[in-house]
Symmetry: C2
Subunit: 409 residues, 2 copies
């Protein structure tokens, strides 16, 4: 059960002009459900991507990067769940290209106009034959209203599909932004790759789209963490179909770029937070704000030290105001000249630590009250500057261990 | 149940001339057992310490550092379990000094000749009165044969006491090295601080002792990890009572230093590995060797990325040869120019990945066979140099979550 997140109904997911989606069952694993998605894009669609920094990036990530490096429009995406095609060497690259070629044949475009994505088990060969055989069924099912089915198709250990939409006005013209994502562990190298696809009909040029994609990723997917790893397959792609009746928007300084930027950022943030709310075994949604740092990077280090500490995460799971663990995590963030005597922190409105020691006003029952909530704000003040950083994470539960210890059996 | 570790019998723990130990029940928590240890040292005993790098170091760590900075002999140690005296500000420092004064009064030395240690819950006041009241009972119980009782007294979430001894000959004279340790999480900021005390009767001078302590810590306690945090209280102290009938050993170049160095290193390594074997919820003991790196630091980064990945740790717990997770962790170690195509790894004798892809000879049943063992060697070759690094860790089990989620209730 995700923390305060219900999947959007199909009616809440707005179609995007120029984007058609089709799903089918390729039976990559022993699943009954659809596991293959083809997205057909109207000619002239621009695409930009942000990908994993893991040195062992998956074959489809390498192929996506190659195809995007040509800086030409993209005609299709293809996404399979159940197999990551990672750690598969030269054969994996050939497999990813074969899938692109099959999709190109089905939607009538070149193989290098297709972007491939995979999520699932690492180090097992992609069942290319079954995927290629299911591509025509995906192509036959293509429709603009299929976003909800697409969101379900790309799931792995996710318990709910994730989609988000915004409509905004640009010079009086309606512009739509809709996206889907799958996650479960921000980085479970295995079954919990993060994939997200966000599309708009706004006529955004490629250079500007690159900036918007990077910006949106930095403020959303790069600010959530389940357990601190980064998968081999993480991919975030933004598509602009150019179908809204507007003159091209090419520069960030164009005032018409602002509402589109905001809508893309809002969709990305909603999807990123949905991934945390549906994190593997998550029972709590934790927002960590670290402020008064010298620079954003050191605030981010402290936020990640808290978010990744198994001891902090298990205390949240237990609703135990065992708050020395947060203090300890701050001390472990690697800020060599941090002055403990200037550090304070709060749980929601409750001052826990003031000037490096237990706050005089702190009472365990107040900490207990906040820790019982499903959503908790942790605010840390480092007392050394004006920078800040925010991160969203979840707790570490028995179910996290069960999901990750047992899922292959 | 620790992994392949049984506590030493009292007979296996050799007394060290000049070291007397006494324990008592100060009832710091609602425990029936002894929780306070005083170690009385013969006059002239040299001491050296290696302490936590956590910026929120506990009050006793600050006081230990001060007392050791005087570079004079030490007359006593005092250790309590159940309360870490960390995150306690100025009052915590005063409390630690008050305990030193009480011990000084009991064993007839100055307060600054006493080193204090605490382990337990963070951010709660040390119950000084109960500790001071129990000091005379510790003093009355002082005896050279009390090492086993001392090892039990300092336990927190440890399931077994940990002690190790070596006897070696220096110029035909018997020299003894005996130590105790407690751990459970290398760093559970709460109940699982690492404390270790190793004593020898060898006449080692302070400068040499500093080097031997640092060296032993780097090859033992700094090479084990349970979940990757570092507690506020971690302390490793080496004592040299000077009681063996030998002329002083002052320099590392003195050939008589070698056997003592080896014995201290062996005791520290045995204790450090015992801490991992008895890690919170541990069911597997994992040795990680990373080799063919450019320098030891990058090998260490890769080893820690593997050891700290919750996904790798849960796969070990499940005995699941889900080995893409190890590949993914290697890719996440932050080596920007790592060439995946040169990376190989083995599980015991089984080649899993060769040149960046699944080894041709690899069969899942071979991986399964190794993963079922209670002790597993992971060997990674980075293919870029001659440096190497070793780390010992354990798996992440349901019991880890239970211990850390539930222990305060």
């Amino acid at each position: 059960m995700p923390v305060n997140y219900a999947p959007r109904t199909p009616d809440e997911i707005l179609p995007v002009r120029g984007v058609a989606l089709g799903t089918a069952a390729a039976r990559i694993k022993r699943w009954e459900r659809d596991d293959l998605l083809v997205v057909a894009l109207t000619p002239g669609t621009q695409a930009s991507g942000v990908f994993t920094r893991n040195r062992f990036c998956a074959a489809p990530v390498t192929v996506c990067r190659e195809h995007l490096a040509r800086r030409r429009p993209v005609q299709a995406l293809v996404v399979n769940a159940g197999n990551a095609n990672a750690g598969t060497g030269a054969k994996g690259l050939a497999d990813a290209r074969a899938v692109c070629a099959a999709v190109g044949a089905a939607v009538r475009c070149a193989a290098d106009e297709v972007l491939p994505f995979s999520t699932g088990v690492i180090m097992e060969s992609l069942p290319v034959d079954r995927i290629v055989a299911a591509v025509p069924a995906c192509a036959a099912a293509l429709a603009e209203r299929n976003w909800a089915a697409a969101a379900r198709t790309i799931m792995t250990t996710d318990t709910v599909p994730k989609a988000a939409s915004r409509r905004t006005a640009v010079d009086g013209v309606d512009v739509t932004v809709t996206g889907i994502a799958k996650g479960a562990g921000m980085i479970a190298p295995n079954m919990a790759t993060l994939l997200s696809f966000v599309a708009t009909d706004a006529p955004i040029g490629r250079d500007l789209l690159d900036g918007l994609a990077r910006e949106a990723a930095n403020a959303s997917f790069n600010r959530v963490t389940i357990e601190g790893d980064t998968s081999t397959n993480d991919s975030f792609v933004v598509l602009a179909t150019q179908q809204a009746p507007l003159a091209p928007i090419e520069r960030a300084s164009d005032p018409r770029a602002a509402p589109v930027r905001e809508a893309i950022a809002a969709v990305a943030l909603e999807l990123a937070q949905a991934i945390v709310r549906d994190g593997e075994g998550a029972t709590k949604f934790i927002s960590i704000l670290v402020e008064n740092g010298r620079d954003a990077a050191e605030c981010d280090r402290v936020a990640r030290a808290i978010a990744h500490s198994p001891l902090v995460k298990t205390a949240f799971f237990a609703s135990d105001p065992n708050l020395g663990r947060i203090l300890c995590a701050i001390g472990n963030a690697g800020i060599a000249d941090l002055d403990p005597a200037r550090v304070s922190f709060w749980l929601d409105d409750v001052a826990v630590v003031a000037d490096g020691g237990r706050a005089a006003s702190y009472r365990e029952e107040d900490g207990q009250r906040v820790m019982r909530k499903p959503e908790i704000d942790v605010r840390v003040a480092l007392g050394r500057g004006r920078a800040s950083s925010t991160l969203w994470t979840c707790d570490l539960s028995h179910d996290y261990v069960s999901i990750n210890a047992d899922y292959r059996s």
